[in-house]
Symmetry: C2
Subunit: 400 residues, 2 copies
């Protein structure tokens, strides 16, 4: 092309997914015949519940038509029932079904903040928040949690230091991606007071609710007192039912004006996928034993990973209470270099491991440079082997 | 609530869907036992191809995992094959699968324009463009087409009058929603020259490609010479395969930088729904005879509607060449009043008709006040009856 028309500045600044950034190195390793254990992405290997997949197979729809913009009524009602069972009291009309949790977060950001407004985020955070912020033209302002204390919620003073007149909301995930931290009642109370005193929305990403181990308990933003006008829940079936490809999530709030805005955003994109909603509705019938088995399995995986990491010289890793991630501090200067080394120049008997450099989970430049996120989404035996490879790779990397 | 936290200004200004605005009146008519013929929404009654529905039923996926952010590779390749068959040469890597055409338009707007930039749109236009513009913080600038000439593309001078230094793109649908107009080669050439001379992207919504009647031919933006860096196609399976609830669309361009931005927007929301993409892929196997039958059916419907409208005193309606809509000018001062009258105060032997007031399809205040959009999405017999009711209602309304 002789002439070239430039795309918008926001499109130019839109970040690539740091989780997927190293995929070409993995592809090239595989092309060389190396087996790659993928610990870089939160894609569970757990089978989707049979009841959910059966709903696809039993589809008898003749005309696959638009559904309601706020989601299928039967699904919204059943979903309210699920929330009741986990102790969250929310009416079907205070729920809007979204196309994945992604859309829920994007809609929520747009509804709580205008262009140039600020949203405080606890870092490290789910990396795609950064992309959503660019798409919503909102400024993400980080408050940093620390590896040393297992990424507990930063202090009130830490929040006060970054809150300005343009701050409109705090967004956090609980249980946390990428840290796995599960906030306790004191921490939730700190967020509640901040929201009240500084007049902020509290946007809680609770997609890992069912992934809590030992005595960790997931506390919902919707159960915080006095926040009816400012508590926003975003959720998804992706992790809960190992159904990431279904793209069914939701946003919930008791703020009617907020929910009416959700509906109008929803009307613009017409509706979430119809049959996937029917499948998500079917998934709601899985017995508690499904989650119990899943939790047992993930607890074992977490233990394998955390215990192996703790044994590696110079590695810092607090065993987290939830989700299926852990952020580990490595004795390296640049974790991305290390991650690329693992794919590009290392293998143990023809096998290697892919991890996600953690700097992509921070908004503060330079933070997380010596950290990686490990998603423990493989079975315990594979994880044991992957940790062996990681330990050997780390040793080799440090020698060079 | 005593205190009340305000949502963002953009959320406050987000428009409700004008197509769905009158739904409460329809609901109330139905509650009174009135049968309502829905001509207000572009939801076809045509059955989704059996091959597509069978793909849902034959799902044998065990783990419903994330797909690639740009869509399933097999589907992108098959889709490129579809485009080849309809005379559009586009490589799979220049296609990104979206969650419906809605997401394609939203992504495209964000990538061609920054906050406050202007996008020229031919009005009347697909009403959801207005919502997408609010979501993308872009200003839609209308150039008005006229009922009197069947909504042909406005003149070059009309466009020049509204193009400013902030104009970044022209967006149009062809075949047109809500007008049904199919632009000819001269009209496309006018758009091509405008894009080149004023350095604009040309975003073409071609979701009604297969709905062309008589000798109307759908000309694609991707076949315009010299526009490789600025032609953007948005498309969807919703209308083509009567699969609005599948939420599978795409965006295509030969501008690599633009497509790379599409990928990064796509990565933020992870992926389009997986099984729906497999179903869309299966739909590509339908033989040409499927579209031929569909076209025959819709041509009959269009003729029923247009001929009936033309017979109504004072009604102006040019028979359009494509899509399944017609915008008719009625001999009334306020078409919304009339539409509400039809639902609220009129019935013919217990039946009435719902139409969409056309002012929601205009950005210029006051335009389209005496126009309605009629979607001919019912069978010919039902449409005949609906037109009888409409004629009687119009007569009654004018008497009062």
């Amino acid at each position: 092309m002789d002439r070239h028309l430039e795309i918008s500045r926001r499109a130019q600044t839109m970040p690539a997914s740091p989780i997927r950034r190293l995929v070409p190195f993995a592809d090239s390793a595989k092309a060389r015949g190396i087996k790659v254990y993928h610990l870089n992405i939160g894609q569970p290997d757990i089978e989707t519940p049979e009841a959910m997949m059966a709903a696809y197979r039993h589809t008898d729809i003749k005309v696959l038509s638009y559904g309601p913009s706020d989601g299928l009524k039967s699904y919204r009602e059943a979903l309210a029932g699920y929330y009741r069972r986990v102790g969250i009291n929310i009416a079907p009309q205070d729920l809007l079904i979204t196309t994945g949790g992604s859309e829920a977060i994007l809609f929520a950001l747009k509804a709580v903040a205008d262009v140039g407004d600020e949203v405080v985020v606890v870092e490290p955070f789910y990396t795609n928040y950064a992309g959503f912020a660019v798409m919503a033209c909102v400024k993400l302002v980080p408050v940093t949690s620390q590896a040393d204390n297992g990424f507990r919620l930063p202090s009130r003073a830490d929040f006060e230091r970054v809150i300005t007149g343009r701050t409109r909301a705090i967004i956090y995930s609980n249980p946390g991606n990428p840290t796995g931290v599960v906030y306790n009642a004191d921490e939730l109370e700190r967020l509640r007071r901040l929201a009240l005193e500084f007049n902020l929305f509290l946007v809680a990403d609770e997609v890992y609710r069912e992934f809590c181990y030992d005595d960790a308990v997931p506390l919902s933003v919707l159960n915080l007192a006095g926040l009816d006008d400012r508590a926003v829940l975003v959720d998804s079936v992706s992790k809960r039912y190992s159904a990431c490809g279904a793209r069914v999530g939701c946003v919930a709030s008791r703020n009617r004006e907020f929910m009416h805005a959700m509906l109008r955003f929803g009307q613009a994109r017409l509706c979430p996928p119809t049959i996937d909603q029917l499948a998500a509705e079917a998934a709601l019938s899985v017995p508690d034993s499904y989650f119990q088995r899943m939790r047992d399995e993930y607890r074992c995986r977490r233990d394998v990973v955390c215990e192996a990491l703790t044994r590696m010289p110079g590695v810092l890793c607090h065993k987290p209470g939830g989700a299926f991630y852990v952020v580990a501090r490595l004795p390296v200067r640049d974790a991305e270099e290390f991650a690329i080394f693992m794919l590009d120049r290392f293998n143990l008997d023809g096998e290697t491991v892919m991890v996600a450099p953690a700097d992509g989970f921070y908004a503060t430049p330079g933070k997380g440079k010596d950290e990686v996120r490990i998603a423990y989404v493989l079975n315990c035996a594979d994880l044991q082997r992957a940790m062996q490879i990681l330990a050997a790779g780390l040793e080799e990397f440090r020698r060079q």
